[in-house]
Symmetry: C2
Subunit: 448 residues, 2 copies
């Protein structure tokens, strides 16, 4: 097998007359002459005949020719040829090569075999080579799916009257109270990377009533788990003039329905490739108060839950219960205890309107055994907020830039955040959330 | 004038039967009973009659009633009343109040008078109170427009086959070579905040061919100017399988057309409020090579340009020339000299294909006298890239994570970045780019 030097950078004659066809469009061109652009995904030279699997953004296709000098894998190439139905070829069609041009020749073989579906290498090694391993069909499928989730997030919220905002990631204090913050020197001042746009999105409810943001957030968590990233993409929502957290859950229910519908329309091939199944989103996702959930898990499964929250095993069992009894992959766990929620969580009210000290209007959303969202109603009343800041032993002075806004008539509001990578990983059955991010950052990984 | 305590948090009877109407929809409800939600933008009590200007996400409207105890400005309220045409009222309609409820009472008056169109206070003071001044109609108009620009960016690029990506903002080295970087402690390692997703978006061309990102970027520039921010929203594009930078400019031309069309459809009120005019985007934005541009500015205006680039005055004069002679608010300045471009800029080629050492395929886009984009074709050939890295006296070792990818058949590609705030400010005639960001970060500003 030989490689040929890169051709001069001029378009082939066919390029001037034939528009480009994507590999997934070949079924519309049976018997026709097409022009393909892409990468050498795989190659085989049987002497008289050469096989080339060409990968483009839409998929892969087999090209067959003779007298071809196929370049190294991952070289970018142009193929002009005739489409022929071929039941055994990927996608059901192959292309019989008539013209072949190397656009940009690889200078060495990839450090990993890109066409392999599963790499038997140390996962860390795979991430070391992420700049090229991410070209793999499985690897990129997760990122494609994530892009579509994000786009559905935009389009659905726009339809619901939301305005997109962009808030600072360099901040003077942490939203959640100071733990797990990356520190930064800001022209000689101590600054931090934002853990969440929480406080800013609330402020912006006073401006646009309904707002959302898609942006990275940062958690300086030392421990490595399969569900945490130190930098991740947060899909944040906040809405004003609500009655209570039910309005927020109803919005999220509709949003999830829209996201899954878009994935069904645009990512069927990716789900098939990864052997994953799209969930049905119930018209009304089941709700269960946290205390009842803990009780259920103990009574039905004999699992005793420590702490105030659910532990990972309890999340798994509770999801199993709702999948079995109601056929739902989703469940809202509601009325979180005060001890498991931040200072800004709105208290649950007694029937006479008195705030309860034990429970909040915070909720989690579980999906297939894991929490993918925290949400809830927030405190909008200034006096109640200041009481809460003090009760949490936070410094009211340091919170002024945030708390001041609640002097100015903030309406009842609430919202939620979805970690894009965690949702993507769970949807696709990817065991470690790092593979749902293009270039993950973890405790030991700052490159590529 | 008196205020009343906040009503208990129960919906009024009307709320249960009347859907909410937005103030901008009043023209569809002449003579009807409507329910409005919003903020007390302004209030006046004439004894027997009270006037309330209610502000919601869509605009403002005048409400008139009697016996109303109007709460402090910025309180959030609910009004039920009848719509009546009134030529002198904002929007041409007023609402005659039948029911009035305070949803959340402000506990003190705002530090600035929100209804004022121009605040005669120190601009720094205005930014100190940004958490509430951003509710002002002019202030929020800029952010609304920016949200629509970003959304048009998404929708247009999707139509053109682009995939959205999310790349790290915590990086081990700077894309542009190391100057103006914010430093960060990353678990004991030296890290930086990304100045640009440049290197990552190029890597992702090898995956999805056409990619875009909307995300913050960071420049630790010490000097304060009206056109720079230390944190801004970058709209990044990168596309593969191009012939040369003309393909990139053609895409950008189409993108700008789509953005302006969307602003025309969604932000007419904001442009009117700010006295700004939407530009027409020519079907073919004029192009001029940089060297010719310098010559033109000298010959026509007698302005001698120092350095290798254009200075701000030259940008202004060149824009003036194209506005006068071709009626275009936009002009591409092409074929930038090597000395004014980073190492990854693709060289211009001689007619025989030899790379030129003096000129690149980099371009700038000027809009109404200011650069809003840098773009161009990038080097895709590994040998050419390594030559360039050495010629720029950069450390090839430190660039490995980036340069390695060019061993693997990267196709010819190029792209551009638009600073969202700068485009927004220039479109709306906002003199300082800080007012085109919700919570700007500058040399001395880390809050709110």
């Amino acid at each position: 097998m030989t490689t040929e030097p890169q051709s001069p950078q001029v378009p082939s004659v066919s390029a001037l007359t034939l528009p480009r066809t994507l590999t997934r469009q070949l079924n519309q061109h049976d018997g026709q002459r097409v022009r393909l652009l892409g990468f050498v995904h795989a190659r085989r030279d049987l002497g008289g005949v050469q096989f080339l699997v060409l990968r483009d953004v839409s998929g892969i296709t087999q090209c067959v020719g003779s007298g071809l000098h196929l370049p190294l894998p991952e070289s970018s190439v142009e193929v002009v040829g005739r489409v022929k139905a071929h039941p055994k070829a990927p996608g059901g069609y192959e292309v019989q090569v008539e013209e072949f041009r190397v656009i940009s020749a690889a200078v060495e073989a990839p450090p990993l075999e890109i066409p392999k579906m599963e790499w038997n290498v140390n996962p860390e090694t795979m991430l070391d080579y992420r700049y090229v391993s991410v070209r793999g069909l499985r690897e990129r499928a997760a990122l494609k799916v994530q892009g579509e989730i994000v786009y559905a997030f935009h389009t659905y919220l726009r339809e619901q009257g939301f305005t997109e905002i962009s808030t600072p990631k360099i901040v003077s204090a942490g939203a959640e109270g100071g733990a797990n913050l990356f520190k930064l020197d800001y022209f000689g001042e101590q600054a931090y990377l934002a853990q969440s746009p929480q406080l800013y999105k609330q402020i912006m409810v006073g401006v646009f009533e309904r707002v959302y943001e898609v942006a990275p957030v940062y958690r300086a968590e030392e421990h490595a788990t399969s569900r945490h990233l130190n930098e991740y993409l947060s899909l944040d929502v906040e809405m004003g003039f609500i009655h209570d957290e039910e309005d927020v859950m109803t919005l999220q229910n509709g949003l999830l329905t829209a996201i899954m519908q878009r994935l069904k329309d645009t990512c069927a091939a990716e789900f098939e490739l990864l052997g994953a199944t799209l969930p049905d989103v119930p018209a009304h996702i089941p709700r269960i108060p946290l205390l009842e959930a803990r009780q259920l898990v103990t009574e039905k499964f004999g699992h005793v839950v420590g702490g105030k929250d659910l532990d990972p095993e309890a999340e798994r069992l509770l999801s199993q219960h709702f999948a079995e009894t109601q056929g739902s992959d989703f469940v809202f766990v509601t009325k979180y205890p005060r001890a498991a929620r931040p200072f800004y969580a709105h208290p649950e009210l007694e029937t006479d309107g008195t705030p309860r000290t034990d429970l909040t209007r915070g909720y989690d959303l579980l999906f297939r055994g894991i929490e993918i969202t925290s949400g809830g109603q927030r405190i909008h009343d200034y006096a109640m907020l200041m009481d809460s800041i003090r009760a949490y032993k936070m410094n009211p002075e340091a919170m002024t830039g945030y708390s001041e806004v609640f002097k100015h008539g903030m309406p009842p509001h609430g919202g939620f955040a979805i970690g894009a990578e965690r949702l993507t990983a769970k949807l696709l059955g990817i065991a470690n959330v790092r593979y749902a991010r293009a270039f993950p950052r973890d405790r030991h990984r700052l490159t590529p």
